[in-house]
Symmetry: C2
Subunit: 199 residues, 2 copies
DNA sequence: GTCTATAAAATGATAGAC
DNA sequence: GTCTATCATTTTATAGAC
């Protein structure tokens, strides 16, 4: 009785799932959660629309899965630019902008769905509320370390500046997505030059 | 033959039109262009949905009319905060933020529809493209005047800073709309204190 | 200027066969 | 896991009466 090894049966368990997430990311980044349609995503995957809903119970669940996945990628990227313990927040964020500039789609996914999510009834409302609270807090901590090292003025309100930096990045990304001729790196460098003191 | 004075016949020419624009502004600010529905707007106006489309030929036309109207209001507000010829851009923008903070709906209309409009097929895509180009240019001019007056460093790249200021404002407004506990004025004051040199 | 009626298409989701 | 068939809504827009 040759029985196939049970440990191998699930060789490609989430292959289709990943494929769906990929296509959904593109569609949602382009048209937002409201503008994207399950039928179109299914077609681009090469599956029927009920076939798609076998993997994700609803459109909202699909959006949240897309955001969770991209959020994990994001964490890796951010950890990377902050990996140098000697570097300042300014240097890390400047590097981050250069990385982001090579991946408009990921940025667009955030810009588009975050704005939609202002609506309290939007499926990603809580996701973004928590995400921004957490990001502001972590950024403030990192700024506090720069301050302790004497790289930033002792009187600096790090919570205030954390909010400020996030706002600057989001706003620059929007202008750049709308009009790719807009340069993000210049303003970011100028901003941090003033924050850390010109050389 | 008593004929009614023709000059008076159009006493309330666009009353309903204005009412529709009001309701549409609220709905679109809440749900975006894609999320808003003509049926719901019509119901809140107290008119049938075809009755609504008598005044505006299409949903896209309604959106553009809403944006044009709010844009005119906006120009008036901006002119107001820049009215003091002796004041700096920093002072004017700080005042603008305080005015904006009292009208979340107007700000939300912009934040939500601007993000949607990144899509080249969105009816407001061109509107926002031009709007940002114009706003950046005007802001840069005003910064150049501050620079000429010696209020800003001679080496300052005003185009760069104009992009930066707009980004900061947009980003702060988003964080504040998502989480009303976020303070916009603190970061704005801190930003301009550094730009103009601390006192 | 406003209505009813209706078209024509698209939407997210479910039932049930294979 | 994927399909066909189908449902129940909702969508924008038009035709035509009043």
């Amino acid at each position: 009785m040759p029985q196939p090894p049970p440990a191998r049966r699930r060789l490609k368990p989430g292959a289709r799932r990943r494929q769906i997430l990929d296509v959904a990311t593109r569609e949602i980044a382009a048209s937002g959660f409201r503008g994207a349609s399950l039928a179109e995503i299914a077609e681009n995957v090469g599956v029927s629309q009920p076939g798609l809903l076998h993997h994700f119970p609803s459109k909202a669940a699909l959006l949240l899965a897309v955001l969770e996945q991209k959020s994990a990628e994001d964490t890796a990227i951010v950890d990377e630019v902050f990996a140098d313990a000697e570097g300042t927040v300014g240097q890390a964020i400047t590097a981050l902008v250069e990385v982001n500039q090579r991946d408009p789609e990921r940025i667009r996914l955030y810009t588009v769905t975050a704005a939609e999510s202002i609506d309290a009834g939007h499926p990603a409302h809580d996701f973004y509320l928590r995400r921004y609270q957490g990001t502001r807090a972590r950024l403030a901590e990192r700024l506090a370390k720069d301050r302790e090292r004497g790289r930033l003025p002792e009187t600096l309100d790090v919570a205030e500046v954390a909010t400020e930096i996030l706002a600057l990045l989001d706003g620059l990304q929007f202008q750049w997505l709308l009009d790719p001729g807009v340069d993000m790196t210049g303003p970011v460098r100028a901003y941090f030059a003033r924050l850390y003191g010109r050389t």
